[in-house]
Subunit: 277 residues, 4 copies
């Protein structure tokens, strides 16, 4: 399927997070350890919030991330306090820019790892449930983008966890109506530029992996000699499909059927359950 | 909008038709004379029928045709008795392979010049009218592809002119329901590998240009000294958005609101009228 | 051939310069007025200096600038006090990222409009004159990149005008040795991140057009009512292949056979003459 | 590095060879078993000879082969009696069409797996040894293309094995002059449209793998029940970087330091030794 990463914290050069870690997302594009596929070479994308600009930037392309020079250039020259990155392994839909994550609508970014099972058969019913005013914003052909527009339809603007729960509920109901036993498999990240919500859920309760980083102060206590950690501010957090390295204690698995919120008021972790609509 | 070309006749190297004429389609990609835009550089495509293979080949890309080396290679090495070629000027939808023409479904090829006015507002209603079994075959985001799947929905397989008339009728009805005065502008080519249908129609009766070539025997009488014409068999016909050169008498305008059929039994030209569905 | 633009001044969003003007560079990619070709759709590139990073970023791609979404995204989210932009019309060499301008080496950016006449015949001799330590840095197949590495060979680091004069002298000598009457046609921009040098020269003394913007204080006196001008600081200057709009008095032609320097100490304009090496 | 394949025999649909085998070249692009890298996703290419046309067609692109729709289309509609296919894993040079194999010059096709060690340091000397009349034909930046033009320089037209031996001799001499212990690693395929030469050599005598297929008559005796083998004519041969499947007895390793010739007069296998020039 795919691999993704969210960074939130003090403004850093994208390169520090995307390329520098031992098992960086770029390395995962060639050598994923925990993904369904080893290779994630069917397009990639980054989305970043720039100070003073409401709408995040999105840079997406169709080749592999590992050999993309423009990605390396941008990563080496752009700083951001909040960014998404995604590498794609298609399950059959076209490799095209509009199918690369993250997706954007207004100030929102969205990315997904997983799949709607038998999406071909469910696609029409799911698209019909999208707010008619948003229907024409769907540019690509992925399940992930339709999930995003369903979440927008169900109130992402006002209640992100509720909107995602209703989206998941709809997908599961429509799936089961069509005889699909386990319709949804997802880890999803979504942000409005201030907070980040990260979800882990699947109909069969064996979701794709998802990890968040340990608090910086704890890491510094554990590793007083690691210079790199001294440079990072306390509010730095990462959420990732798989750990970016092997430092013991640095990564914590997001539990099955739950979601976390990265926010100035303090991060929280909650149970996640689809809601029928 | 776009420019396109259909060739039907004895098998020829694609290059003879695509690159050799003075004002070839490749030249039109840079210097269209009759198009809405001078430049048609937002992707291109060719579709060709190969002897003994039911499904036509489709080669489409996202850059301009004029500098595409792969197109030149294929054109210089592939022979076909029936092929489509299309150069695109987008009116805003994404430049991606799945938005380049021709579109294919089974043995059918389809390409379009023109637009559905305010397609963003009509898109959902039109997509809902597509046969649910075909809905998931829609891969891109153009009006042209939706028109194709509507025609397939309305019986392209059995009655191509009727299916296209019903597609046009639906587009006009849906358009008017949404307050669009002139919803449809089109020249369309469609083929099943044996016959070719070419349509010229627009809601305001000022359609994009469309021409068909004069019979070879007539041209040879007119120009007994032009060696090139001696090489072409009698069944050779071209239908084009704009003439490929300036030979007087070589090109005939397809009349407003009409369609032609290229077929072994003899070509015919008919009046075209949208049918309400 | 090509069109290009240099911005130097207070940090601005690239979009303000690349997309907002009436006859912006993006508009010139479709509708150049003064270029040899109307269409400049064979690749494009931007290079920008980011505060605190010595090496400029380079973003280059192979399609047309006018429909590139990533360019628009970057332009809308990146600010820079000094950037280059270039749109390409190839004269035959491959359309590939390494042939798109600007070229970069260390902290230097280089871009070119024009051509070395009969470059195919001169290419080997010119490449042999490149410092052997730099030879393997040549990644593409354009005359423009070879000109850059010749200038680097001839001391760009220490004496930019002298290095460019020696590069031009070599090209003209090698050209004439091969019987080429007018070997060189160029407008060139080069920067080290602090100063910008812009050259206008051709062997036949009929060089491609080049313009620089009038001082902001003068423009504000001329147009006290134009709000846009009030937002720009005094040090803002543009050097362009053709004017970005029709404001009388805003643009001044760089004289034939001359070069200008944009620098904190005050801009200057000098005579340019190739030097034999 | 890379993987490649040559087919010579009765005309077949490219698809039969490129996509149908269990461990096809397309499968190898994601899951190479014997390559230096598992993933060969940095561009690909095919070259095929078409009946009645001297110059072979070349179709090359920059993304991975495994998700390229145009490759699949061409493979499914083009028949050829002799074709090359190559998937690339770059060792650092740019991913661009002109760096994808096969390379073509006149009626010649060339492709390579391996590398010239420390090519950056040797590149200039090797390029200088290319016939000045051919120098400007070098379009890309790979070692493989330079090797091709060296072989052309050294008489590929008249004595292919001798020309390749002299190319290898030069590379090894230049390499050693620069202090490179093992300058050359190569499996190379080259054809003029009638014969195919396949070389296996490396300076350290541990060359990349290379295999040729067992004679069809032998395979049919071994496997009288395999229907697929009955369809292939006696003159069918494949040369591949790694076997396309696990049929015992179907594949034979080309010995270290040797080359084979596929030709109407009967295939031969010879010792290969670089020649100093």
């Amino acid at each position: 399927m795919c691999r993704w990463l969210v960074y939130s914290g003090m403004p850093v050069l994208l390169d520090d997070v995307l390329y520098q870690p031992a098992h960086s997302l770029i390395d995962q594009s060639l050598r994923s350890r925990m993904g369904v596929e080893t290779t994630n070479g069917d397009g990639f994308g980054i989305g970043w919030y720039a100070p003073g600009i409401d709408t995040p930037a999105v840079f997406r392309d169709t080749g592999p991330a590992w050999n993309n020079r423009n990605l390396r250039e941008i990563a080496g020259h752009v700083r951001s306090p909040l960014f998404f990155a995604h590498i794609r392994a298609t399950t059959g839909t076209a490799v095209q820019q509009t199918n690369s994550h993250p997706f954007r609508h207004g100030r929102w970014l969205w990315m997904h790892n997983g799949a709607i099972a038998e999406f071909d058969r469910l696609r029409r019913d799911l698209c019909l449930a999208v707010d008619p005013a948003l229907y024409s914003c769907i540019e690509g052909s992925t399940d992930s983008e339709v999930m995003f527009f369903l979440a927008l339809t169900f109130g992402l603007d006002k209640d992100p966890p509720g909107a995602v729960a209703r989206m998941a509920g709809l997908v599961e109901r429509v799936g089961r109506t069509h005889g699909v036993e386990f319709p949804l498999q997802m880890t999803v990240a979504v942000s409005d530029g201030e907070r980040v919500w990260a979800f882990r859920h699947s109909s069969e309760a064996t979701s794709r992996t998802l990890f968040y980083s340990t608090r910086m102060s704890t890491l510094r206590e554990l590793y007083p000699d690691v210079a790199f950690l001294r440079g990072l501010s306390e509010e730095t957090r990462l959420v990732v499909s798989e750990p970016l390295g092997d430092l013991p204690g640095a990564w914590n698995e997001v539990p099955e059927s739950s979601y976390g919120v990265l926010q100035p008021a303090g991060d929280v972790l909650h149970h996640f359950e689809p809601q029928d609509v």
